[in-house]
Structure formats: structure tokens, C-alpha cells
Amino acid sequence: MKRVYVNEKWCLGCHLCEYNCAFANSGVDDMVKALKGKTIAPRIRVEESDSINFAVSCRHCDNPLCVKGCISGALSIQDGVISIDSDKCVGCYTCVLSCPYGCISTSEAGAVQKCELCTKNADGIPQCVAGCPNNAIVFEER
């Protein structure tokens, strides 16, 4: 299955992935309209230090502790993609507690949010990958 993989060697710490993610999941068709004046809450996040940067988003594990620990059945695996049904999610954060990569985040709305590989908003390729200027994030079979 194709997943998002990160190679920190090439991450520039430009944070474009975060903005592209926030835009892709905004439901708005113009980036300016979607993001101007807002604090973004992307599903991918860049960790940075002086010389190292890398983006982190859901690994879509084969053995997903988040799904196994989900009390409501809101998290599930669909064709390998770990998806969140935000309607069912009650915001208990067991998944936040379970995820070894810190890839499920809380949101204002209550339900948690996480990367769903843009399966619900864009065709083909996750937008963090599409917009990465240096192939630091790739979407491929490994």
C-alpha cells in the first residue's frame, strides 16, 4: 500500500506541507480564502531543530493502536487508510494517548483529526506530498 514516507535528509523545514494540508482539508477552493488570517491546524506537522527538520503525519500502521484503542469505533481502517468518522468521535483522546508517533491531534470541534491521505478531499496524491518542494515527503509503496 502507498503511504507517506519522510526523509529528513531532504526536509527544508519550509512548512509548506502544513499549509497545503490545512488548505486541502479546509473545504475551500482558494488557499488565500482558506488560510488568510487563520492559525492553521494541519494534520502533518514539522518538527525542527537547528539543523534537522522533518514532517510527521499518520503512518497508517498495519497494526494501528489508535484503531484498537478507539472506544467508539470512530477510527477504522479502510483499504489500509486509517480514517476517522468525526461524527462518531466523542473526543476521548484515547487515540492521542495510543499513537506512538503523536499523529492524532485534538481539534476545536471536539473530534480528533488525523491524516487520511487526502482520500476525502483530493484525488490521487496527498497534498503535503504534492507540494513538497524537495521530495522530503513521498507517497509510495515500500
Binding site: 519522510v6 498495519d62 467508539s72 469505533g73 462518531k88 473526543g91 492521542v96 508517533y101 503523536g102
Partner: protein, 412 residues
């Protein structure tokens, strides 16, 4: 191969999915005394809180039994097991034979002897969907009931969270000197208590009801007296082990299982709140009545019943127990060297023992806390990571480069 599963909650569903990951066609019969489609047991407080509805509480999609070819016998109770003929016997004497049996019977409320308790008309435990229904009915929608909850553990407090907005007043009493004593440390307890008190809950700690007198009057050990309209008894739970015990499974408070979720009786497995597991954080055997463990134990049981090989050996306590806007996640044991950070709105405690993180408490800011959990789960030697960095906040940067590459550049 025919599988019988007693129970219909997390461990039971884990067992079904575990079996089906290995055996697509073997017959599965699932028997549960609750009549409901499988639902997320902890959701009952959220149901009252209004964060979910009964329609959305199904733990799995509504075609789950069909797609997994499970014969679900709901509202039926197993009264005994005949291990000689390898069959379970139902309340009407019906026998259901099995090749492999999974006991996922969970637990039941524990009610300590209290004088006059039987005179209280409007009371309920808080364990099941039916309990939640009853409680809602008792409360009504007028916000005119004074509620007394006995027990300031997770069940009592989640119940309190769920009904605060439906109650005129809410009082919680517990014999322990602090709330959530099994989940939090002292500072955490008081932090949470202050928060809940600010929202209007009243706590009577190191105290208990000495007796009830009619009508709806409680007299405490301390001498304090309280009138109430509705009583919730949430003192504790006891694992349902009798079925297992009767066929000779070794039981020590809970059913003893190995890391393959097998009991001491061949062909019989057990998972979930009815079992005792090995807590890797505290390095002791104990009942770990928490949902993620229940699922994984069940899953391991299912895989092993179906002839696969799956070990679940990463049990440890972990709780995501936010209350009314205050997020809180905790895991492991608090016995060790503590690293504490506090702010006005948050509390963070990391507990280290023998070069390992064994426990943590995050209140307020829980962001990416799962990374801490993974340190406990994987028993990561802290000298292999940048502990000073990860103490500041959970981050993968603290891991060595090769480890980061494993996490981010390999399939999991």
C-alpha cells in the same frame, strides 16, 4: 472449527476480528446477555453528555456480524460451561458446542454493604447502556434533581461529567482521600478536583455513607447528612470469573491468562476486564480494566484460537480521561523519579525508573502524548534518546536518527 465467544464488548469484538484475520470461514457464535448491538461501553457517559447518540454508539458498523459471519445470540445468558462435551449451556438449557471458547465476560458493579441502600428507590449503577437509560430517566430533563454519586473513580467521575448539566446539584463521595486515586497522583487529583469544583461538583472525600434513611437521605460517617433525588453507585467493579472458575480455570481475582490470552484450561481463552494481565510498567500482575488492553487481548485470543500466533505482552494502565474540557491522559506507574512541569492550566509528570519511562500524567496539554506512551510500551532505554528534549514536549526529534528513519521511512 467452531468458535464460541461469551461477551459482546471490546474484548469479544477483538476476538472476532482476531479469528477472522486468520480463519475466514470457521463458525463463530457470540453470546451476550445484553440485547444490544455491540456498543462502545465507555460511551454511556458521552451519551448522557450529548456528545453522541444511541445511533452512533455502535462499536462497529451495523453489518459487522454479517460481514464477519458471526452468529450473534444477543440477550442470551451463558449459565455454565460443560468442558467435557465442549459446550456452553444457556439459561434455557440450550447447549452451544464449541471447539475453542473465549470468555469475555467483563465485570460487574461492586456494591459494598450500606445500611438502607435497598430503601433507595431512585438508584442505579453506571456500567451499561441500560444503566445510562435508567439514569437519564431518573434525572428527567428538568435539571431539578440533586444527585449523589458514591465513588470518585473513573466510573463515578465520568458519570458525573455526563450528568452535571442535567443535575440541580451533584455530590460525589469517596472513602479515599482524593479523587481518581488509581489514575492520578495527589497533585493531579487536586488539580482535577479544583477544576471540577469550579464547574459546580461537590466532593466529600475520606468519607462514606454510613446509612440511608428514607426518603432519599444519606448520613455520612463524618456525620454530615445529605438529601438527594438520585443515587449512583459507582464504588468499583468485580470481574465476572465464575464461568471460568467452574471449569477449573485458574483465577486470582481475575482469570489468569498468558500472553497468548489462553487460560489454564486448554481450548479456553479469556480477554478483557475479567482477566488479570501483567502490567509491564509496574511489573506486577493485575486487573487492567481498560479498553485498548481489552481489544488487544481479545485480538490475540482470536488469532491464537484460529491457529495463528499472536502475543500481547504490552499491557499497562493507560487512560484518556478528560473531563468537561480538561484534557488528561495518563499511563503506567508513578513509582520512580518524577520530572514535573506545571503551569496554571497544565500539569505534566514523567516518571522514570531504571533508565525507562514507566509512567506519565498529562493534564491540560496532551498534544502528542502517545509518544510518551510508546516509550513505556517499547520500554525504550532513556539513554538512547534525548530525554531532556522529549521532557519539554513529546517529539520524535528526541530519537536517534536511525530510529527516526525507522519510524518515518518504513511501513508499520
Amino acid at each position: 472449527m467452531k468458535y464460541v465467544i461469551i461477551g459482546n464488548a471490546t474484548a469479544a469484538i477483538g476476538t472476532v476480528e482476531g479469528i477472522r484475520s486468520v480463519d475466514k470461514y470457521g463458525e463463530i457464535v457470540l453470546i451476550s446477555s445484553e440485547p444490544h448491538f455491540t456498543y462502545g461501553r465507555p460511551l454511556i457517559s458521552y451519551l448522557l453528555l450529548g456528545k453522541t447518540t444511541e445511533e452512533k454508539m455502535n462499536y462497529r458498523p451495523l453489518d459487522f456480524y454479517e460481514t464477519n459471519h458471526v452468529t450473534a445470540m444477543l440477550g442470551r445468558t451463558v449459565t455454565s460451561i460443560d468442558k467435557n462435551i465442549k459446550a456452553v449451556i444457556l439459561e434455557n438449557g440450550e447447549k452451544v458446542s464449541y471447539d475453542k471458547l473465549a470468555i469475555c465476560t467483563g465485570s460487574r458493579p461492586f456494591v459494598p454493604p450500606m445500611e438502607g441502600l435497598d430503601t433507595v428507590e431512585r438508584q442505579t449503577p453506571f456500567m451499561t447502556l441500560d444503566d445510562a437509560h435508567r439514569l437519564a430517566e431518573l434525572l428527567g430533563e428538568q435539571k431539578d434533581k440533586d444527585v449523589l454519586i458514591i465513588g470518585a473513580g473513573l466510573i463515578g467521575l465520568k458519570c458525573a461529567e455526563g450528568i452535571l448539566h442535567l443535575s440541580k446539584s451533584l455530590t460525589i463521595v469517596d472513602m479515599a482521600p482524593r479523587i481518581l486515586p488509581n489514575v492520578l497522583d495527589e497533585y493531579g487529583s487536586s488539580f482535577l478536583q479544583r477544576y471540577l469544583e469550579d464547574l459546580g461538583m461537590k466532593f466529600y472525600l475520606s468519607d462514606s455513607v454510613a446509612r440511608f434513611s428514607t426518603p432519599n437521605h444519606a448520613i455520612f460517617q463524618s456525620g454530615m447528612e445529605l438529601d438527594f433525588d438520585v443515587l449512583v453507585v459507582a464504588v468499583g467493579v468485580r470481574p465476572n470469573t465464575s464461568l471460568a472458575e467452574e471449569i477449573g480455570c485458574e483465577v486470582n481475582r481475575g482469570i489468569l491468562v498468558n500472553t497468548h490470552s489462553a487460560t489454564t484450561v486448554p481450548g479456553v481463552y479469556a480477554a478483557g476486564d475479567c482477566t488479570v494481565s501483567h502490567d509491564i510498567a509496574a511489573d506486577t500482575d493485575r486487573i487492567l480494566a481498560i479498553l485498548p488492553n481489552a481489544y488487544q487481548q481479545g485480538e490475540a485470543a482470536g488469532v491464537n484460537m484460529a491457529g495463528g500466533d499472536k502475543v500481547f505482552d504490552q499491557a499497562f494502565p493507560m487512560n484518556a480521561s478528560g473531563f468537561l474540557g480538561l484534557h488528561m491522559i495518563t499511563a503506567g506507574s508513578y513509582d520512580g523519579e518524577a520530572f514535573i512541569t506545571t503551569t496554571e492550566n497544565s500539569y505534566k509528570k514523567l516518571v522514570v525508573r531504571d533508565n525507562k519511562l514507566v509512567g506519565f500524567i498529562l493534564i491540560g496539554d496532551v498534544d502528542r502524548g502517545g509518544i510518551y506512551t510508546s516509550l513505556i510500551r517499547d520500554q525504550v532505554p532513556l539513554d538512547t534518546i534525548d530525554f531532556d528534549l522529549i521532557r519539554q514536549h513529546p517529539q520524535l526529534m528526541a530519537f536517534a536518527k536511525a530510529e527516526r528513519a525507522k519510524k518515518l521511512a518504513q511501513p508499520h
